[in-house]
């Protein structure tokens, strides 16, 4: 079971790019890296998932180096509505209990 380490909090301003890095040194071969976003009073919401290299979708990019021991969630041009907690999960649903780490609380200012 890969343990994850993320910064507890980050601050940014509207329009800036935000990069949140997650460390997962003991990631296993079958593990995927998945990021979730959680707003107050809501359940976490899937943002992006990857296995290696780079993945991009309409809301974010995920960068994964060759050794897969870390990953970086990149949010381009954040807005106030991106203020939320972001969780990095590493594992494979069928073989692991998906344990949430502390998450990163992102605060976006005007």
């Amino acid at each position: 079971l890969a343990k994850t380490t993320q910064p507890i909090s980050m601050d940014s301003y509207e329009g800036q790019e935000v990069n949140i890095t997650c460390s997962h040194n003991n990631i296993a071969t079958n593990d995927y890296i998945t990021w979730y976003q959680q707003f107050p009073s809501q359940g976490p919401r899937f943002i992006i998932q990857g296995y290696k290299t780079k993945v991009t979708n309409e809301v974010a990019s995920l960068f994964i180096p060759a050794d897969r021991k870390s990953s970086t969630l990149s949010l381009p041009r954040v807005s106030l509505s991106d203020t939320a907690v972001y969780y990095c999960l590493v594992g494979a649903i069928n073989t692991d209990k998906l344990i949430f780490g502390t998450g990163t609380r992102l605060q976006v200012f005007p």
């Binding site: 359940g43 969780y87 649903i93 949430f100």
Partner: protein, 113 residues
């Protein structure tokens, strides 16, 4: 993706009583998970509930306190029994969707007086 409905969305309960939380999914899923999230904290996995088998509980959680039912592939319940104020928390139902993704309900906010 999967759409998950949780009921109730919130409740205020008296000490010593029990509350059953329902989780309904709009599609058939094999794996369902129950999480607890205390105020300002991350999510803690309570148990994994797969249809046709007994729920698997994480360390610190026991069946007598948190009995779970999983009668079919679209429904599950979690009961919080003999509640105390320490059980005040948000309880979240989650399902495994395609591609190693988790989908969550909006949660049940429980306050125990």
């Amino acid at each position: 993706s999967a759409v998950i409905s949780q009921k109730p969305s919130r409740d205020i309960c008296q000490r010593g009583t029990s509350l059953t939380i329902q989780c309904q999914v709009d599609s058939q899923v094999t794996m369902m998970f129950w999480y607890r999230q205390q105020p300002g904290q991350s999510l803690t996995l309570i148990a994994t509930a797969n249809q046709g088998s007994e729920a698997t509980y994480e360390s610190g959680f026991v069946i007598d306190k948190f009995p779970i039912s999983r009668p079919n592939l679209t429904f599950s319940t979690l009961t919080v029994s003999n509640m105390s104020p320490e059980d005040s928390s948000i309880y979240l139902c989650s399902v495994a969707g395609g591609g190693e993704k988790l989908f969550f309900g909006s949660g049940t906010q429980l306050s125990v007086l």
